[in-house]
């Protein structure tokens, strides 16, 4: 049994941010996560560090938080943020009145803007639709959510904080009506671990109500699915937004060698049962085409979706619900923190930990906005040059991941999960989407004695099924060719079947 002061459930940015804040304020804590870090909405978002401009007309409060956090994160999380800048492009037919309001609201909230002529905008982003009326430059950035979680977790660990990943909370222990601990089950071995604490924080996003229910509480959530699509090329070096009220397919974000385009907004009931529909992809591709005409003819490598956990407010249109966050005190030792955005995760953590400090009657101020994240010295940004140095024994040709990289991750974190290797090395993130390298990485894990050949085949099957779900909605063109090749390898040459 583990004893601690604060138990955090959920290893997204919110949970990891809380862990770091607690660490900096000297509060013992333990984080429990069902999958790997960033497995929920954090890992399936746009990877956009908002300037706030996207919400400035509809939700000025959220916009204000965004711009203030944007400036903080550029400073404290330098190696996770690519300060690309963003453009809001106005196409023929887009409302000029909205544009005027947009500029006015940006000024009110304090978001710096620069109005660019079409030719100046095209100088910055050559693939932009030449028909645009104008573009407004704002300080949007690209951000790496997984790396952000990891770096927050490093601070937590350095202060003695613990975490359990791949552990699902299956029960909240109650004594005399108060929540005093949790039971967590390891995914692979089904082993149960018990963690006891004085306060439990439910930072599980879309799973918030399910987890709160374990403690006999309820969280009013509206779940909104958003789908995105990844293009095989970096078609823009800036974030591109459509200058109109938030709608489908109006954002495209450059991320390392690719672009992420989205999103959609569809109400869903169960966050564990979501998938991308072909028509969503068509909508996104059609809309994004208006901003970057080359997008439609570019190879798509995968589609994915995440669930926005929005505070239920009785509003029908999920896009109209505030992206602000709420902290709910269930008055039994359990708190739920819901809503909010990736861009404002640090602020959410600060507010949450302020409340915890009051409960513990301690007065240590928050310093997360001043102190840079630990562990950034080891990061080199997009380390292509570093990766090209060691070309021997490449396991993943798309992302240049070597056998030594795979072995290194396994030695460091002792994992049995292929996803953990993928997140930490980018193995399988390229055009073939792990079609070749997963089989190899599993072979290496097996040779290292980490998993048995039987487990390895089981994992491979699960991986192939999951991979296909992501690829299926985006299958046309070159991606369809590659998929049929992958199929011929696993189902033909290797004669695999689901049995």
């Amino acid at each position: 049994m583990i004893n601690t002061d604060v138990i955090i459930i959920g290893g997204g940015t919110t949970g990891c941010g809380i862990a770091r804040d607690l660490a900096l304020r000297g509060i013992p804590h333990y984080l429990i996560e069902r999958g790997d870090f960033a497995a929920g909405a954090t890992g399936s978002c746009h990877g956009l560090l908002h300037s706030g401009a996207r919400y400035v007309v509809t939700d000025p409060q959220a916009a204000k938080e965004c711009i203030s956090e944007n400036l903080i994160l550029r400073r404290i999380a330098e190696k996770c943020v690519e300060p690309t800048g963003g453009l809001f492009v106005r196409l023929p037919g887009d409302s000029k009145r909205f544009r005027d309001r947009f500029l006015k609201c940006c000024e009110d909230v304090g978001i710096p803007t620069d109005v660019l002529s079409p030719s100046r905008a095209i100088d910055l982003v050559p693939e932009l639709n030449p028909m645009i009326e104008e573009a407004i430059k704002v300080p949007d950035c690209a951000i790496d959510p997984f790396r952000l979680c990891m770096l927050n977790a490093i601070s937590s660990r350095q202060a003695g904080g613990g975490f359990l990943i791949h552990h699902e909370v299956i029960d909240i222990i109650k004594e005399k009506g108060r929540c005093v601990g949790i039971k967590a089950k390891e995914k692979f071995t089904s082993q149960i671990k018990v963690v006891r604490g004085k306060i439990i924080i439910n930072a599980t996003g879309a799973w918030g109500d399910k987890v709160a229910a374990l403690g006999g509480s309820h969280v009013p959530l509206t779940l909104s699915k958003g789908s995105l699509i990844i293009s095989n090329h970096r078609l823009t070096n800036m974030v591109i937004n459509r200058l109109r009220p938030p709608s489908d397919g109006d954002i495209i974000v450059p991320n390392e060698a690719v672009c992420l385009a989205g999103t959609t907004s569809i109400s869903v009931k169960d966050p564990d049962n979501i998938k991308v529909e072909s028509h969503e992809i068509d909508t996104i591709a059609t809309e994004v085409d208006h901003m970057i005409p080359k997008f439609g003819s570019t190879r798509m490598i995968r589609a994915y979706c995440g669930v926005r956990p929005l505070f239920a407010s009785g509003v029908e249109d999920t896009r109209a619900i505030s992206r602000g966050f709420r902290i709910i005190d269930h008055n039994n030792g359990l708190f739920s923190i819901i809503g909010g955005k990736l861009s404002t995760y640090r602020l959410m953590a600060e507010k949450m930990v302020d409340i915890i400090m009051t409960r513990f009657d301690k007065k240590v101020p928050c310093t997360t906005a001043q102190i840079p994240l630990d562990g950034q010295d080891e990061l080199t940004g997009y380390p292509l040059s570093k990766r090209l140095k060691d070309m021997d024994d490449i396991i993943c040709e798309c992302e240049l991941v070597t056998r030594a990289d795979v072995e290194g991750v396994m030695n460091r974190i002792g994992t049995k999960y292929i996803e953990d290797i993928q997140h930490r090395t980018r193995l399988g993130m390229g055009p073939c989407q792990g079609g070749f390298c997963t089989y190899r990485a599993l072979g290496v894990m097996q040779e290292m004695g980490r998993i048995s050949p039987e487990d390895s085949i089981r994992i491979l099957k699960t991986f192939l099924e999951g991979r296909f779900k992501g690829i299926r909605p985006a299958l046309w063109g070159d991606q369809l060719r590659e998929e049929q090749l992958v199929e011929s390898i696993y189902l033909g040459i290797l004669s695999m079947s689901s049995k």
């Binding site: 072909s278 056998r403 369809l480 011929s488 189902l491 004669s495 695999m496």
Partner: protein
């Protein structure tokens, strides 16, 4: 002016070319590059779902290309294939009556019809010990997958100083390397039984290499086909290409078709790009054997599918949402029916072209993954289209 211009240098196009060249026709083969069969196991799957391919052939629905070839036609084409291969030092074993099992790198058993002689000993029903010899650093071959599924199997790893299948196959062509290899294996005192190796026993003289090692060690040896690049697939392709050259066929390799000239009812010529200069290739008849999506004969847009050389009418499931089944392992995705519909003479339907014949995996309703008939169908339709064309030329 050629008698026949064949577009597509895969198994189907090569078989059609060889058959026609064998009949004294002046042929030109145009290919963009190395074909899909280089990525295959090198085995000839004819129909995988039944214990006998012969019984399976009748099963697919009416539009399947096998029905246009007919049972005797399929049998003849396979015999023709075996005959050419027998004369070339790359023997194929098996017949249309039975499927054989070959071991895969995952330890599963794959059913196939004709296998290269180097895989002959893999056919098992018994429980004899199998010892796998793998190579250090080979990234697509992990023998524990196989040994974990077979109690009576073990493995050792040989360090050849190189870790690609093509590199290893090249080494095995060298007698000094082979001597070292055999000496090492002898020193391991491998238990009695058969020896299995990933398929790297030479690029061209695999049968001799296998027999030489087998004699030295006094063990039966068999090869396990690997992931692409697959050496048995490359051997098959190279041998067929060589055979075609021997029979006097012209080959334009690595060439894209830039334009097509057609009259009302005929294709008259195609233009290919050689270096900086276009070359016009004229023919009395044409064969289209450019393959399906993977090979680039078909290309899918978001809403439609087109044929890439002549823009022939293509049949395909209309809604993209329905192109693929939900589950990866649910084989027989609707999109696999996509392709060119032909009549019994292998001419494309609704194209009004009397001198164009279509064969191979570009044919509609072939459903290769579902029926496991890829290389078999390529051979059968390649030869059948060639025969039909030959009758028309007279």
């Amino acid at each position: 002016m050629y008698d026949v211009v064949i577009i597509g240098g895969g198994l189907s196009g090569l078989m059609a070319s060889i058959w026609l060249a064998d009949r004294g026709k002046k042929t030109a083969l145009i290919s963009k590059g190395d074909p899909m069969c280089c990525l295959s196991t090198g085995c000839i799957d004819v129909f995988g779902g039944t214990s006998s391919p012969l019984k399976g052939i009748e099963k697919p629905p009416r539009g399947h290309p096998y029905h246009f070839v007919g049972l005797e036609g399929i049998r003849d084409s396979l015999n023709f294939f075996k005959k050419i291969m027998a004369g070339s030092g790359l023997n194929y074993i098996g017949d249309i009556e039975t499927n054989r099992g070959i071991l895969t790198p995952l330890g599963t058993i794959k059913a196939t019809c004709l296998v290269p002689q180097t895989m002959k000993a893999a056919y098992t029903g018994d429980n004899e010990y199998i010892h796998i010899v793998s190579f250090k650093g080979l990234k697509d071959f992990y023998p524990a997958y196989i040994t974990s599924k077979n109690e009576n199997a073990g493995y050792s790893v040989f360090d050849a100083g190189i870790s690609t299948t093509v590199g290893l196959a090249t080494r095995f062509e060298d007698t000094t390397f082979r001597r070292e290899f055999v000496a090492k294996l002898k020193s391991w005192e491998i238990p009695n039984g058969r020896i299995a190796m990933p398929a790297v026993l030479g690029l061209s003289s695999s049968v001799e290499i296998m027999e030489a090692i087998s004699n030295e060690l006094d063990r039966k040896i068999f090869e396990i086909p690997t992931l692409p690049p697959s050496i048995p697939g490359i051997r098959l392709f190279r041998r067929l290409k060589y055979t075609l050259q021997q029979k006097g066929g012209d080959i334009y390799w690595g060439r894209d078709i830039a334009s097509v000239e057609r009259s009302d009812t005929q294709i008259e010529a195609v233009t290919i790009v050689t270096g900086s200069r276009p070359t016009r290739v004229e023919g009395r008849a044409f064969v289209l054997a450019t393959g399906s999506f993977v090979s680039g004969g078909l290309y899918a847009l978001r809403e439609s599918v087109y044929e890439t050389v002549f823009n022939l009418p293509v049949v395909f499931p209309k809604k993209r949402a329905k192109w693929f089944n939900e589950d990866f392992f649910d084989i027989g995705h609707p999109i696999e029916k996509a392709g060119i519909r032909v009549d019994r003479s292998f001419r494309p339907r609704h194209a009004n072209l009397e001198n164009l014949f279509v064969c191979g995996s570009i044919l509609a309703f072939s459903n290769i993954m579902k029926y496991r008939c890829g290389n078999g169908m390529a051979i059968a339709t390649g030869v059948a289209a060639a025969k039909s064309l030959d009758r028309w030329l007279g």
